[in-house]
C-alpha cells in the first residue's frame, strides 16, 4: 500500500475591490493510490475552492507512527479535497499536543488556525486499536467534539474517514460523506468492469467483469446491493447484485430491452424501463424479482430514467412526449405526469437531491451537455459545469456534491462539483475510461 501526496497550492489572483472573492485559489491535490483487487489507481484533482476555507490544524496522533495505515494524513486529505478547509501546518510544536491541556492556543491562533484536531492511538484489551480524538476551538479554547473509536487494522482507513466526517460536520454544519463509497464502470479496450471504491477513490474493487457493456449502476438504499444493466445476454437486462455475497439475479429480462433501474427508498421495489409492451415505458418491479411488472406510464413516447423522490411518493423521469426530451414527475401510484423542465430543448437524467427540494440533471445548451440543478419550488435552474460532454449526475448523500461523468482529451473520467458550483474535483483512473458513477448512501458499518 503506497500513498504519495503532492500539494501544489498557488495561483492566487487578487482582485482588489471585491474582498469576499478576492482570492481565486487553485489547489491541486494528487492522491496516487495503489489500490487492491482492481489494481487501479485513482488521481483526484481539485479545481476551485469554497468562499471561506476554514483553517484547521491536524496534529499527528500520538503513536499513529507505528500503524499500518496512519490516520491523520487521510483525515487531512479528505478535508482538503472537499475544498472547504485549509490545512494549517501542525509542525514544530513543543511539546506536540495530544491532550487539550498541552495546547498552547496563542501559538495556534498565530498560525491562523480556527480549529485544532488532536488525538492518540493505543491498543485496547481486545487487540483492537483505541483511537480517540478531539476537535478544539482555537479561538474560544473549548472542545467542539470528542470521540473514541475501536478499530481493527483493516478498519483504520474507514476510521480516518469517520473522523474527517465528524470534523466536517462540526465545522460546516453539514453531514460529511468521506466514509461512503462510489461505484462506476471502467472500460478498458473491450472489457467492462463495475467498480466499487471508497469516496476518495481508494481501494477500488471490481465486482463484475464482462466483455459486454455495463451501464446505469444504482445503489440500494441500504448500500448492500447494486442494480445495473448488463448486455451480456446480447440485450440490456437489469441485474441486482449483492455486495455482501456477490450473488446476482436478473430481475428484468423480459422480451425487448430492460434498463434504467431506480430503487424505491424502502429498497423493496425498482422502477425500470421495459419495452415488452412496445415503446420504452416505466414499470415497477419487486427487488427480489417476484411478481409481475406493474406498468406506471402509458404513453406512446419514450419514458425512461426514473428516479424516486426521497419520500417514495413520486418519480422523476425523462420523456419525449412533448417532442424533445424533458423531465416529468409522476406519482408512484400512477396517474397523470407533470412536466417540470421548461428551459431548453434537451433535459435528461434527473436525480433528486437527498432533501427532495431540488434535482440535478443534464441540460443541453447549443450542443453542449452540462450538469444543472433545478429547485422544485422556484423552478430556478443553475448550470454548474461547462464541460460540454457531461453525463449521469448524482448527489452525494449530504446533498453538497454532485458526482458525474465527463471527458478530458477523449478519455472518460469522473468529476464532482459542489452544489453551489464553486468546487470541482476530477477523479482519473490510471487506465481506461471511467463512466456511469453513482454515490453510495451513508451506511453505518
Amino acid at each position: 500500500m503506497t500513498i504519495q501526496m503532492q500539494f501544489h497550492a498557488e495561483t492566487m489572483r487578487n482582485i482588489m475591490l471585491n474582498l469576499i472573492r478576492t482570492m481565486t485559489r487553485t489547489l491541486t491535490v494528487s492522491l496516487l493510490l495503489t489500490a487492491g483487487a482492481a489494481g487501479a489507481a485513482m488521481t483526484i484533482e481539485i479545481v476551485g475552492a469554497g468562499a471561506n476555507q476554514i483553517p484547521v490544524a491536524i496534529v499527528p496522533f500520538r503513536a499513529e507512527e507505528g500503524l499500518a495505515q496512519k490516520l491523520t494524513p487521510v483525515v487531512a486529505a479528505d478535508l482538503t479535497r472537499s475544498g472547504l478547509f485549509r490545512m494549517v501546518d501542525p509542525g514544530g510544536m513543543n511539546p506536540v499536543p495530544y491532550e487539550p491541556e498541552q495546547l498552547n492556543y496563542g501559538q495556534w491562533q498565530a498560525r491562523g488556525a480556527e480549529a485544532v484536531v488532536i488525538g492518540s492511538v493505543s491498543k485496547a484489551a481486545d487487540g483492537r486499536y483505541d483511537i480517540r480524538f478531539r476537535v478544539m476551538d482555537a479561538v474560544k479554547q473549548t472542545q467542539i467534539a470528542g470521540f473514541v473509536y475501536f478499530a481493527t487494522e483493516g478498519q483504520l482507513r474507514l476510521t480516518a474517514h469517520k473522523i474527517a466526517d465528524v470534523i466536517y460536520e462540526k465545522l460546516t454544519g453539514d453531514a460529511g460523506v468521506f466514509a461512503t463509497r462510489i461505484t462506476y464502470v471502467v472500460k478498458r479496450g473491450r472489457n467492462y468492469e463495475l467498480h466499487v471504491a471508497d469516496a476518495d477513490g481508494y481501494g477500488a474493487q471490481s465486482v463484475l467483469s464482462s466483455n459486454e457493456p455495463i451501464i446505469s449502476p444504482a445503489w440500494s438504499p441500504d448500500g448492500t446491493r447494486l442494480a445495473y444493466v448488463s448486455f451480456e445476454q446480447k440485450k440490456p437486462v437489469v441485474y441486482v447484485q449483492s455486495l455482501v455475497t456477490g450473488a446476482r439475479q436478473a430481475i428484468a429480462a423480459f422480451r425487448g430491452s430492460n434498463s434504467a433501474p431506480a430503487w424505491s427508498p424502502d429498497g423493496k421495489r425498482l422502477a425500470v424501463t421495459l419495452t415488452r409492451d412496445g415503446g420504452s415505458q416505466l414499470f415497477l418491479i419487486n427487488a427480489d424479482g417476484s411478481g409481475a411488472p406493474q406498468r406506471l406510464t402509458q404513453s406512446s413516447a419514450i419514458d425512461t430514467e426514473a428516479n424516486f423522490s426521497p419520500d417514495g411518493q413520486s418519480i422523476l423521469f425523462t420523456s419525449d412526449r412533448g417532442g424533445g426530451p424533458q423531465i416529468y414527475r409522476i406519482a408512484t401510484s400512477g396517474g397523470a405526469a407533470q412536466r417540470v423542465t421548461f428551459e431548453g430543448s434537451y433535459n435528461v437524467s434527473p436525480r433528486h437531491s437527498p432533501d427532495g427540494k431540488s434535482f440535478t440533471f443534464i441540460q443541453r445548451n447549443g450542443g453542449r451537455f452540462n450538469v444543472a440543478v433545478q429547485d422544485f419550488a422556484t423552478r430556478q435552474v443553475q448550470v454548474l459545469t461547462d464541460g460540454g460532454i457531461d453525463e449521469s449526475p448524482s448527489f452525494a448523500p449530504n446533498g453538497k456534491i454532485i458526482l458525474y461523468a465527463t471527458e478530458v482529451r477523449g478519455r472518460g473520467i469522473l468529476a464532482a462539483v459542489s452544489s453551489d458550483g464553486r468546487i470541482k474535483q476530477r477523479f482519473t483512473a490510471d487506465v481506461g475510461d471511467a463512466r456511469e458513477p453513482a454515490w453510495s448512501p451513508v451506511v453505518n458499518k
Partner: protein, 188 residues
C-alpha cells in the same frame, strides 16, 4: 461513399461469420469477482451455434463456405443487415426499404425463423435516453417488416443504445454509422 462503407463493413462481417470461433463469437464471459462464482457461472450467456458453422478457417470469404445459406451469401440482398437513420429520426429511408423488404419476405417464407433487430444511437447525450432512441429505431424496422408479411413473434427488438458503436470517431460521419439498426439471426 456510404456504399463503400457498407461494403467494407459487410466483408468484415462475413469474414467474422465464416471463420472458426473468434473472440466475437465466444459470447460474453462474465466474471464475478465478488465471491459467488457459482451464481455468475450460471448467468453466463449462451453462445449460439458456433460449433455447427465451422467452415474453412483460412479462406472465410470463399463462396463455398456460404453455400446454402442466403443470409450469408454476399450476392444475396439478405446478407445486407444494416439500416441507417438520420439524426433524431426513426424513419426507414427509401434506400434501405429493399433490404427490409427482403428480410420480411424471408421471415414470411420461413415461419420458424426468429431474429432480432438491434437498434443503436450515436454517442451524444444520455446513455439511457439513447438506449430508448435505439429501441425506437429497431421498433420502426420491425413495424416495416410486419407490414411486409413478417409475424410479430418472429422479431424481437432490442437496443444497444450508444454502447456498441460501429464507428468510434466523434464526427457526423461516425455518428451516422452509429444511428443504425442491425438485423441479426441466431446463427450469425
Amino acid at each position: 461513399m456510404k456504399r463503400l462503407i457498407l461494403a467494407v463493413a459487410l466483408s468484415a462481417m462475413l469474414a467474422a461469420c465464416g471463420s472458426s470461433p473468434t473472440k466475437e463469437q465466444e459470447g460474453a464471459a462474465v466474471e464475478d469477482r465478488s465471491g459467488a462464482t457459482a451464481s455468475s457461472q450460471q448467468q453466463k450467456p449462451q453462445t449460439q451455434g458456433q460449433n455447427q458453422n465451422a467452415g474453412p478457417t483460412s479462406k472465410p470469404l470463399e463462396s463455398s463456405s456460404m453455400s446454402g445459406n442466403p443470409l450469408k451469401d454476399p450476392s444475396n440482398i439478405l446478407s445486407k443487415r444494416s439500416v441507417y437513420f438520420e439524426l433524431d429520426s426513426n424513419v426507414v429511408k427509401e434506400e434501405f426499404k429493399p433490404v427490409v423488404a427482403a428480410h420480411a419476405r424471408y421471415l414470411q417464407q420461413n415461419r420458424g425463423v426468429k431474429m432480432t433487430v438491434q437498434g443503436n444511437a450515436d454517442e451524444r447525450g444520455s446513455r439511457e435516453y439513447n438506449l430508448a432512441l435505439g429501441q425506437r429505431r429497431a421498433d420502426a424496422v420491425k413495424q416495416a417488416m410486419m407490414l411486409l408479411g413478417a409475424q410479430s413473434d418472429q422479431i424481437e427488438t432490442v437496443s444497444f443504445g450508444e454502447e456498441k458503436p460501429k464507428a468510434t470517431g466523434h464526427d457526423e460521419a461516425s455518428w451516422y454509422e452509429n444511428r443504425r439498426a442491425d438485423l441479426a439471426y441466431p446463427n450469425d
